[in-house]
Amino acid sequence: MTHKINVPRLFRERYRRILGDEVKTLVEYCLKPLRKSIRINTLKIEREKCLRMLEAKGWELKPVPWYENGFWVENRNEEQLGNTLEHFMGYFYVQEASSMIPPVVLQPEEGDFVLDLAAAPGSKTTQMAEMMRNKGCIVANDIQIQRIKILRFNLEKLGVINAVVTRMDGRRFIKFRERFDKVLLDAPCSSEGIMRKDWKAFSRWNIRFIKEMARLQKRLIDAAAVTLKRGDVLVYSTCTMAPEENEAVVDYAVRKHGLVVEKVKVRGLKARHGILEWEGQEFDKSVKNCLRIWPQDNNSEGFFVARLRKE
């Protein structure tokens, strides 16, 4: 099913430069409703037990290949997902399958001191807490009080005890040199990749906003790079496809902070390389190691992920 939405001409033209005629497929997927997916929260229940409970209710669950606790739900809508005992209990969290990728790429471990620089609403923070089995510590930061409330609600509902919530402008972390073992910067962005959730967003889409976001993202990645310990890893991700907010930001971090873009392989994920040129700007060759995830590749949101090591 597709919907009659006016996709801006400039949007098509920009991505035609990367995808050629495949841009038609991109637009087609942008207008398809997004598949619903959940992440079983093993901080509160064993995966198999939760699966049995949901399947007994007639849920058709299909595994998300890149995260063992992720499942697409084929025959339930969002309201039906929320109004269940299992959701009330925090046994699962409604999370888009692509958004499970950045923690998988970061691979936080039990004893780590992790910074989630733009954490709200907490999807990836709670996933990392699960991966760390509630050990170590995650500083979950956001700037707005309303977003902090949602973040705290989700952390507590899912049984997370290893998170410390901070309310700060993420750019201020530049003051805390080499403090964290791992940093996740899931940056605020123009959200092109999630227009499948909100088609009206196409009417608000504009280049000026993309450029404004890119400026902010560069300041945030400055902070992330400085506060990361030497030898450790920063993951930069966005839910947009705009090269200004993706490859250009990674290229900036490589040149300014000497970060190294590492090759990443994610199980079962179809992803493409980062692009090496955009609007006359050539990027460092290592930017090719970034993951560019188009909505049509995995029938998911669009996403971008880069794994950067500070040497």
């Binding site: 005992l85 209990m89 510590c137 609600f153 049984g159 410390v164 919530v165």
Partner: protein
């Protein structure tokens, strides 16, 4: 979050004594955890967290809000999340919610005409093996204390 400090052993002992007396929760269950105090609120976290450097950070919360200490009434109210974390180990003042009433509890409705052995005061609400949250029992009435934001519209 103002005046955040790790709970003293004395205060922790008092809290754990209450949890054992009220719900039969053994103090050994809490050995691996650290409790942080801010006003009347007590937060639970792990030992790794307290060793970390938070200087300069504007901390809003540490770990999970575990309970509120009502000093005047000499009572301690476990949060819904705190109850869900440890309630399966409770041996006293647990009220089993029937299949027919679980919907009411999840929607935030109070319970009437409940027959059970639990004492008046805070009780843990349980459905099968699922710990739903906390209620306040007065005779055959149980006030539902599940926060509004946690409630669901319908099952």
């Amino acid at each position: 979050m103002s005046k955040l400090k790790i709970m003293s052993e004395e205060e922790k002992g008092e809290m754990l004594k209450y949890l054992e007396e009220r719900f039969g929760l053994k103090k050994e269950l809490f050995e691996d955890y650290v409790f942080v105090k801010s006003g009347r609120k007590i937060w639970i976290t792990n030992r790794d967290v307290v060793d970390k450097n938070f200087s300069g950070l504007n901390v809003e919360a540490v770990g999970m809000l575990f309970l509120r200490w009502e000093k005047k009434k000499e009572r301690i109210k476990l949060t819904t999340n705190g109850a869900q974390m440890f309630g399966m180990h409770a041996t006293k003042n647990v009220v089993e919610v029937s299949e027919g009433k679980v919907h009411d509890v999840l929607c935030g409705l109070n319970l009437y005409d409940i027959e059970c052995d639990a004492e008046d005061g805070y009780v843990i609400l349980k459905y099968k093996e699922h710990i739903l949250g906390i209620g306040l029992k007065q005779g055959r009435f149980i006030k539902n204390l599940i926060p509004k934001a946690r409630r669901i519209k319908k099952l």
